[in-house]
Symmetry: C2
Subunit: 339 residues, 2 copies
DNA sequence: CTGAAAGCGCTAACAG
DNA sequence: CTGTTAGCGCTTTCAG
């Protein structure tokens, strides 16, 4: 592939002049400019961005690690980030951690050796303090945490108001006349999972309903967990009349369980879930959901990150925490019973 | 961030020695090795991959452009590619073309300036010959086309047997007693869409059924198209008794239309579709689908590409075309009528 | 406005 | 084994 040197030779100018022209930092006389243009097209010249990155110590690449791009919530997030990044001339290097910290650590190391200008991170759940993230930031790479915020770490973040989102949803269930409302939570190691549980508790408390620990099942945000937990809960004689599920995948599991047990929704069990599923409204009955602005989380995260990079100061002096709000979409799965 | 030079100084050895140690190409005496190790950890040294890339003219990065990562089919494909790439020490730069050739062209240019070692491409539909892809290959960047193969271009590819997949599915519909079977195709600019239509025709022909042009609707693989086409088709007095939809998104649109029109599946219309939806089996009734090995397409594609890169020869001498097979998952949406 | 030249951090001869 | 050194392709002073 042609180099700037070959172009300069062919155009009869110095490499400096070609570079000046390319970067547009200095103007070049019309005559030379045309010769450069001609040489470039004759040689089919494509600037070597690797060399430029080395020289400038700027790669114009962002790293992004999410749990699993196969989960619609994250794929929309990635798409949002990518759209913004591209607009602002950044490229995105994506990784799937499957929520394993070890993988996350490995990826972050790779991203450092690759000298990405910043990273968007959906942090994996873990008992221990995320030193690896702290180090990355300390080493001068701006980080924006998405969806989840590690506690005790000063870092920019874009999240969703989980407490409010689930509280509203559970209140809706109560409004529909339910008194025995179960919740399927995510792994309580995760802040988001804890917050959704908290919203559930707040709603019950606000309406003077007792919290029955039997109705609280901890899952892991996977279909299988929802399936298993639902089978257990629904087999009870004092089974709940409504269920709030902390994410979409687990709700799918619940639907499976219901269909296996021959239970009708909402007649036998009203169902509502966090996360919108692509098919929420074609399900029979359509599913009531707490819709998260996944795409927007990605956009805002990327914008925030790029602003940080542009500002140049990795100063942890000020931390920006964006909290977006969810939207409760009421559908048939929670329609009043007996109607 | 520390450089190899600083490490060498601190360890009291030459940069060459550090490099030899790092690359493992030459052995280093135990004493020096330990000093290097110590210096590296004291300085928290991370090799600069950008510099290495420049020196070796190898970035160990792959470009991947798909239509839209938000579509489960593609997100699984990307995941498969990423898993293989990572295993073999490559990183993936992903892009969404939204099936616009102009965007695709732009991305491929970016990928060239970034000097990726190869690209995985789901080519956008277009009337004209994809010169941009041809040029990319000619310039020495190996390309593997996924899911769709541009005609007349000698390029490696990993695809699916669309003809067979849809033929089997339509045959199943016929076996269930249907005679008026509609098809919703994708954009016929796309080979995959044409092939699925072809499978449909083959099935009808094989069973001596006439092809009624009225029952063939061309869509664009989006929910809205499925919705609109279905509304038109189902409003007819001589409406079909079964429908084969060429992709999952459009099937969702059909389901919406059916629910709006108060039609029951499979009583009023048997429905089958290409692509498995995450919720295919929790739908009521569960949806009969032609399952594509999306994840596997990504894996095979990445493996093929990396093998090409490793072999070093961009020789177009031999072209590898992998064709994977689909799996027909028969579910309730096509259950025999009147049962 | 233009050109010469010094590096960015690393690898790979090459000579010891 | 080890050290020296010449670049990879580009940007950017710094003189002209």
């Amino acid at each position: 592939m042609a180099t700037i040197k070959e172009v300069s030779k062919r155009a009869g100018v110095s490499v400096g002049t070609v570079s000046h022209f390319l970067t547009g930092r200095f103007s070049v006389s019309p005559g030379r400019r045309n010769r450069i243009l001609a040489a470039m097209s004759e040689l089919n010249y494509q600037p070597n961005h690797v060399a430029r990155s080395l020289k400038l110590s700027r790669t114009h690449m962002l790293g992004m690690v999410v749990s699993d791009i196969t989960n619609p919530f994250f794929s929309h997030m990635v798409r949002g980030a990518e759209d913004i990044a591209l607009n602002r001339n950044y490229l995105l290097l994506t990784f799937n951690s499957d929520d394993h910290v070890e993988r996350e650590i490995q990826f972050l190391t790779v991203l450092r050796t690759r000298r990405v200008d910043g990273v968007l991170l959906v942090i994996a759940p873990s008992q221990v303090f995320p030193h690896h993230v702290e180090e990355l930031i300390a080493s001068g790479t701006p980080v924006v945490c998405l969806d989840r915020v590690p506690q005790g770490l000063r870092v920019d973040s874009v999240t969703v108001d989980n407490i409010r989102g689930s509280r509203e949803c559970v209140e809706h269930l109560i409004d529909e006349g339910h008194r025995r409302i179960a919740i399927l939570t995510g792994p309580l190691l995760l802040q988001t999972a804890r917050e959704r549980l908290q919203g559930y508790k707040q709603a019950l408390k606000a309406r003077n309903l007792a919290i029955d620990p039997v109705l609280v099942g901890e899952g892991n945000f996977r279909v299988e967990a929802g399936h298993k937990l639902a089978r257990n809960l629904l087999a009870r004689v004092d089974r709940p009349t409504a269920m709030f599920v902390s994410n979409g995948l687990m709700a799918v599991g619940v639907l499976k369980a219901m269909s296996e047990l021959g239970l009708e929704c909402p007649r036998d069990l009203a169902l509502a879930s966090f996360d919108d599923l692509a098919l929420s409204d074609v399900l029979r009955p359509p599913l009531t959901t707490v819709v998260q602005p996944a795409y927007e989380i990605g956009r805002r995260g990327a914008a925030l990150l790029i602003d940080r990079i542009a500002s140049g100061s990795t100063k942890t002096s000020s931390v920006t925490k964006v909290k977006l709000t969810t939207e409760l979409k009421i559908r048939g799965s929670t329609a009043t019973r007996g109607s």
